[in-house]
C-alpha cells in the first residue's frame, strides 16, 4: 500500500488552482439526489407573500463578466442566472422546462422539422425586461445575431454559427434554419441567455456598452450594486414571470481564499458556499457543524489523466492500458481525497441519460500492467525503465502548482508506475501558465485535469474527441489529447444528427465502450464537491445540469 508521504495539510489551500481547474464544465443529466428542502425531512413552511430577507452566497472566485454572451468563467453564471433567462432551463432530472419559450421545440410538436434543419419557437406572453420594456422575439433574434456578429467578443459560437435565416413571424414567434442537423443545439440554448435588443443596439460598440457593467434582464433578480473585489448585490424583481423571487436581496460575496471562505461559513458571515465548495480536508468537520447543512453534490466534472497521444510512448495503446491498470484509484480517492469522489470509467457523468453503467471496471493490478507491457515489447532496461525500439517509457504529468491534494495523487501514481517500470516526472505550473498554450496547443506530455466532455448538458463530446477538433492541428476544437479515431468520428456525427433520444443513447453508449477501450483519457473519478448552507434556508437544490447551484435562487427563502 502506498501512502502519501505527507498528510494533507489543513490550512491554506490557495484559491487559484482550484478555481481554475476544479469546477469546470458542471452540468450533467438526470436525477439529483433530492437534497434541499425535501432532505430536511419535513414539509417546508410556505414562501413569504412578499420578497423578504437576504441571502449571502460565498464564492471563492469573483464574478466579473456580466454580459452573458461575452467571455466569462463559471462563477460569472451565478450572476447571469439571476438577471437573465434562457429559452428553456435544464432541471436536476435532465428534462428541459420552458422559461422564456412557451414550449420546448421537439420533432413531435413540430418545433423542429425537416430532420433538424428548421426550428420554430413560440415565446411566453407577458414577460418584461427589468426596465419595463416588453420582451419579444426581436430580442431573441438580436441575441442570436449578436453572437455571430464579426466584431463582437462572443464567448463561443459553437452551434450558433450554424444558425441562418432568422425570421420573426409575430411578436412572440421566431424561426430559423440550421446549416446542418445539430441536436446539441437544444442544450446549448438552455445556456444561452437572451439579452435586450433595445438597450444593446443603442450602444456604439456592444463590447463596451454600459449594459455590460449594469445588466438588465428578465430574471428573478435585478442588478443592484457592485463593490469590485468584494460583493455584488441583487434585488428582487417583483414583476418576475416565474415563481418567486421570495428573497428581497441576494448578495454574492467573493472570498478569495477557500480556507477563509470556510471560516466565514462557520462563523455565519456567509449563508452558503457553492461552486468550488468546501475543501475536501474540511468535509469531516463541516458535516458536524451545528446549524449548517453540508452536502456532497453531483457534478459533471471528471478528474482524468489526459495523455498527449503524439507522445512517442503514450501514443501506444498498450502503454495507456498498462498505466490505467496500475493506477490505484481507490487509494487516491480514499487516502488523498477523503473518500469524497466517485470512481468512474466513462467520460460521461453517471447521472446522464446516455451513461453506460456496464463498462469494464478498472482494477488495480500492477502484475497485469507488467504483462501488457511485456507482451507489447516494452522490455525493462538496465535502469529499470522499460524501452521499446529505443524509446524509453517515460513522461511527465503536469497539473496546477500548489494543488496539494493533486500533488499527492501524482506521487501515488509515480510510485505505482515506477514498480511497473514506467518513469514519471512531475512538472507542475501556475494556472495561468498551464492552461495557456501549453494546454491548448498540446505542448504537454500528460495532464492531471478536472474537466468535462460534453456540450453543456448534451452528451455530445465532438469538440473534445473529434479528429477535426485538434487545436494544435486545425486551430479549432478542444481535443488537446489529439485523439484521432474514425469510428469515434462517425459515431459523434451520427449523434449530432439524430434527435431521437433512444437512438442517441445507443450511439453514445457505443462511443463510451470505444473510449474505455482506446483510453484517449484515463478517467479517475467524477467529482463530488461539498457545498453547505445554513439551516432554515428553503429551496436550495443541487442541479448537475446547471453551471452553479444558484440556478433556482429565485425560489429560495428563509423559514421563519
Amino acid at each position: 500500500m502506498n501512502k502519501p508521504s505527507t498528510k494533507a495539510s489543513g490550512l491554506a489551500l490557495p484559491a487559484l488552482h482550484r478555481r481554475e481547474v476544479l469546477a469546470l464544465g458542471a452540468g450533467g443529466l438526470l436525477a439529483a439526489s433530492g437534497l434541499g428542502a425535501r432532505a430536511q425531512g419535513k414539509v417546508p413552511p410556505p414562501p413569504p407573500a412578499k420578497p423578504s430577507g437576504q441571502v449571502v452566497v460565498g464564492l471563492s472566485q469573483e464574478p466579473t463578466a456580466f454580459n452573458p454572451l461575452m467571455p466569462g468563467i463559471e462563477v460569472d453564471e451565478t450572476v447571469w442566472m439571476q438577471i437573465f433567462n434562457t429559452m428553456w432551463l435544464a432541471q436536476p432530472d435532465g428534462s428541459l422546462v420552458p422559461d422564456l419559450a412557451a414550449e420546448v421545440p421537439t420533432e413531435a410538436n413540430g418545433g423542429i422539422s425537416e430532420g433538424g434543419l428548421a426550428w420554430k419557437v413560440k415565446l411566453r406572453e407577458g414577460i418584461t425586461w427589468h426596465d419595463g420594456t416588453p420582451f419579444t422575439a426581436e430580442d431573441v433574434k438580436y441575441t442570436l445575431e449578436l453572437i455571430n456578429a464579426p466584431g463582437f467578443k462572443a464567448r463561443t459560437r459553437v452551434g450558433h454559427s450554424l444558425v441562418k435565416d432568422i425570421k420573426v413571424s409575430g411578436p412572440l414567434e421566431i424561426s430559423w434554419r440550421m446549416e446542418k442537423a445539430y441536436a446539441p443545439y437544444l442544450a446549448l440554448l438552455s445556456n444561452t441567455f437572451i439579452v435586450p435588443k433595445h438597450l444593446l443596439e443603442k450602444a456604439a460598440d456592444p463590447n463596451t456598452a454600459p449594459f455590460n457593467g449594469a445588466p438588465v434582464g428578465t430574471g428573478p433578480f435585478k442588478w443592484g450594486t457592485r463593490t469590485p473585489g468584494d460583493n455584488i448585490q441583487l434585488v428582487a424583481n417583483e414583476k418576475y414571470h416565474g415563481k418567486g423571487p421570495y428573497l428581497e436581496k441576494a448578495v454574492l460575496k467573493y472570498v478569495p481564499d477557500q480556507t477563509a471562505l470556510y471560516a466565514q461559513f462557520r462563523t455565519g458571515q456567509v449563508d452558503l458556499i457553492i461552486g468550488t465548495g468546501i475543501p475536501a480536508n474540511f468535509y469531516a468537520e463541516a458535516v458536524k457543524l451545528p446549524g449548517r447543512k453540508v452536502v456532497k453534490i453531483p457534478s459533471a466534472s471528471l478528474e482524468v489523466l489526459m495523455p498527449n497521444l503524439e507522445h512517442p510512448a503514450l501514443s501506444d495503446k498498450a502503454v495507456r492500458k498498462a498505466l490505467y491498470a496500475s493506477i490505484n484509484k481507490q487509494a487516491i480517492i480514499d487516502i488523498v481525497f477523503y473518500g469524497l469522489h466517485i470512481p468512474t470509467e466513462s467520460f460521461m457523468p453517471q447521472e446522464s441519460w446516455a451513461y453506460d453503467p456496464n463498462l469494464p471496471k478498472q482494477a488495480y493490478d500492477p502484475a497485469l500492467a507488467g504483462k501488457i507491457l511485456d507482451d507489447a515489447g516494452w522490455k525493462r532496461s538496465g535502469s529499470g525503465v522499460r524501452m521499446k525500439n529505443g524509446v524509453p517509457l517515460e513522461f511527465a504529468v503536469s497539473t496546477t502548482t500548489g494543488a496539494a491534494l493533486r500533488e499527492q495523487c501524482q506521487q501515488l501514481m509515480q510510485q505505482d508506475w515506477q514498480q511497473v517500470g514506467i518513469k514519471m516526472a512531475i512538472n507542475n505550473m501556475p494556472a495561468a501558465v498551464i492552461w495557456g498554450d501549453f494546454y491548448t496547443r498540446s505542448k504537454f506530455q500528460s495532464l492531471l485535469v478536472g474537466t468535462a466532455f460534453r456540450t453543456v448538458i448534451d452528451p455530445d463530446p465532438a469538440h473534445r474527441f473529434g479528429s477535426d477538433a485538434i487545436p494544435a492541428k486545425s486551430g479549432n476544437g478542444a481535443n488537446q489529447m489529439q485523439w484521432q479515431n474514425a469510428e469515434a468520428d462517425a459515431l459523434m456525427k451520427q449523434g449530432q444528427e439524430t434527435f431521437d433520444m433512444a437512438k442517441r443513447k445507443e450511439i453514445y453508449q457505443k462511443l463510451q465502450v470505444l473510449v474505455r477501450e482506446e483510453l484517449p483519457i484515463l478517467p479517475i473519478y467524477q467529482y463530488a464537491p461539498v457545498e453547505g448552507y445554513k439551516e432554515g434556508l428553503i429551496g436550495y437544490q443541487p442541479n448537475i445540469n446547471a453551471r452553479q447551484n444558484t440556478w433556482n435562487m429565485g425560489q429560495w427563502y428563509w423559514a421563519k
Binding site: 490550512l11 491554506a12 487559484l16 481554475e20 481547474v21 469546470l24 464544465g25 437576504q54 449571502v56 466579473t64 456580466f66 454580459n67 467571455p71 468563467i73 463559471e74 464567448r155 463561443t156 459560437r157 459553437v158 463590447n207 457593467g213 463593490t227 469590485p228 473585489g229 468584494d230 460583493n231 436581496k249 448578495v251 460575496k253 467573493y254 472570498v255 478569495p256 481564499d257 480556507t259 477563509a260 471560516a263 466565514q264 462557520r266 462563523t267 458571515q269 501556475p430 494556472a431 495561468a432 501558465v433 498551464i434 492552461w435 495557456g436 498554450d437 501549453f438 494546454y439 491548448t440 474537466t451 468535462a452 466532455f453 453543456v456 487545436p471 486551430g475 479549432n476 476544437g477 478542444a478
Partner: protein, 318 residues
C-alpha cells in the same frame, strides 16, 4: 528650489518610462495569458479563443502592443480590464478606499506603539524591557503574515467568536462600529510587523542621538531628564523617521497582498494578486505605474519635508 524640483521631475519621468518597459516586458513574456482561465473549462473551442485573442490584440508583436499602451497612457486612457471590461483607473479607484482605511489605521497604530517601544528601549538600553522588545520584534518580523492571519481568525473568530472572520463590514449593516469591528483583525496582523520595524528604527535613531555631546551638555547644565528627552533628543531622533515615513507612503495605497487576501479585504493588494493570476495585463500595468508614481512622490515628499524640518539641509546647497 524650482531647479531642484524640475530636475527631480525629469529624473522621475525617465524612471517611470524604464519601469513601464521592464514591467510590460516581464508581464507579457511570462508564460501564460489572460485566456487560460477560459481554456481550462473545455467548452470554448480553439477558434473561440483565437478570435478573442485577436479581438483583444494579443496576437500583435510586443513592441507594437507596448507603444500603443504607452500612447494611450499618455493621452490619459489607462485601458480596459480584460476581466470586467471596466476602465483601469475606475477599478483602481474603487479599491483605494478599503486599502487606505486599513493601511492608515494599522500604520498609525504601528507608528505610535513602535515609537514608544523604540524610545523606551533606547533610554533603558539592555534593560529587561529592551531585551524583551528586541526578541519580540525579531519574532514579529519572522512570523509569516499568512499564518498569523489564519491564527487570529482561528482563535478570535472561529474559536472565541469575538471578531468577524474577515470582510470590511457585515452584509446589510455597514455602520461605523461594524466597520471598526472588522478592522481589528487585519489591523493587528499588519501592525504587528510594522510595529517591530518602527520600533527598531526608532530605537537606533534614538540611541544615536542620546550619545551626542549636546545631550551630555544639557545634562551637565541640569536640564530635567524629561525635557532633555522630549525637546533635545526626540526632535532630532525623529528626523530620519521622516524619510522612512516618506518611503512608506506608497505602501499606504498599494495595500497588503497577503493580509487582504486572508481577511477578504477588497483592497489594492488583492486586486493586484487577482489581476496577476488572471493575467489581466491592463490592470497589472495600471497598478504598477500607479505604485511607481507613488514611490517617486513619496521620496520627493520626504526630501522636501526633511529640508523643512532640518534647516541644515538646504536645497540651495545642492
Amino acid at each position: 528650489m524650482i531647479a531642484f524640483l524640475l530636475r527631480r521631475l525629469g529624473q522621475s519621468l525617465l524612471l517611470l518610462l524604464i519601469v513601464s518597459v521592464i514591467g510590460f516586458a516581464i508581464l507579457h513574456l511570462a508564460p501564460g495569458g489572460p485566456l487560460s482561465q477560459f481554456a481550462a473549462g473545455g467548452d470554448m473551442t480553439q477558434a473561440d479563443l483565437d478570435r478573442i485573442a485577436e479581438q483583444l490584440g494579443l496576437n500583435r508583436p510586443l513592441p507594437v502592443q507596448y507603444v500603443e499602451w504607452l500612447w494611450r497612457m499618455l493621452t490619459g486612457d489607462w485601458g480596459l480590464s480584460y476581466r470586467d471590461q471596466q476602465p483601469v483607473l475606475h477599478i483602481i479607484a474603487s479599491h483605494l478606499g478599503a486599502t487606505l482605511e486599513l493601511m492608515l489605521t494599522s500604520t498609525l497604530l504601528a507608528m505610535v506603539i513602535g515609537a514608544w517601544v523604540g524610545i523606551l528601549g533606547a533610554i533603558r538600553r539592555y534593560s529587561l524591557f529592551d531585551s524583551l522588545a528586541t526578541i519580540g520584534a525579531m519574532i514579529a518580523l519572522s512570523i509569516p503574515t499568512f499564518w498569523f492571519g489564519l491564527v487570529i481568525i482561528y482563535v478570535f473568530s472561529v474559536g472565541l467568536g469575538w471578531l468577524p472572520a474577515g470582510n470590511r463590514y457585515t452584509m446589510g449593516d455597514g455602520s461605523f462600529l461594524n466597520q471598526v469591528h472588522h478592522l481589528i483583525g487585519p489591523c493587528i496582523v499588519l501592525a504587528l510587523v510594522s510595529t517591530a520595524v518602527w520600533s527598531r528604527y526608532m530605537r537606533s535613531s534614538m540611541l544615536e542621538v542620546v550619545n551626542q555631546d549636546y545631550i551630555r551638555t544639557a545634562r551637565a547644565k541640569g536640564v530635567p531628564e524629561r525635557q532633555i528627552l522630549l525637546r533635545h533628543a526626540l526632535r532630532n531622533a525623529l528626523l530620519p523617521m521622516i524619510t522612512i515615513t516618506g518611503l512608506h507612503v506608497p505602501t499606504l495605497l498599494s495595500g497588503a497582498l497577503v493580509t487582504e487576501t486572508v481577511f477578504t479585504w477588497p483592497g489594492m493588494g488583492r486586486l493586484f494578486l487577482d489581476s496577476i493570476s488572471y493575467r489581466d495585463y491592463p490592470v497589472v500595468m495600471g497598478i504598477l505605474m500607479f505604485t511607481a508614481v507613488l514611490v517617486l512622490l513619496g521620496s520627493l515628499l520626504a526630501d522636501l519635508l526633511y529640508g523643512v524640518a532640518d534647516p541644515r539641509i538646504s536645497r540651495s546647497g545642492r
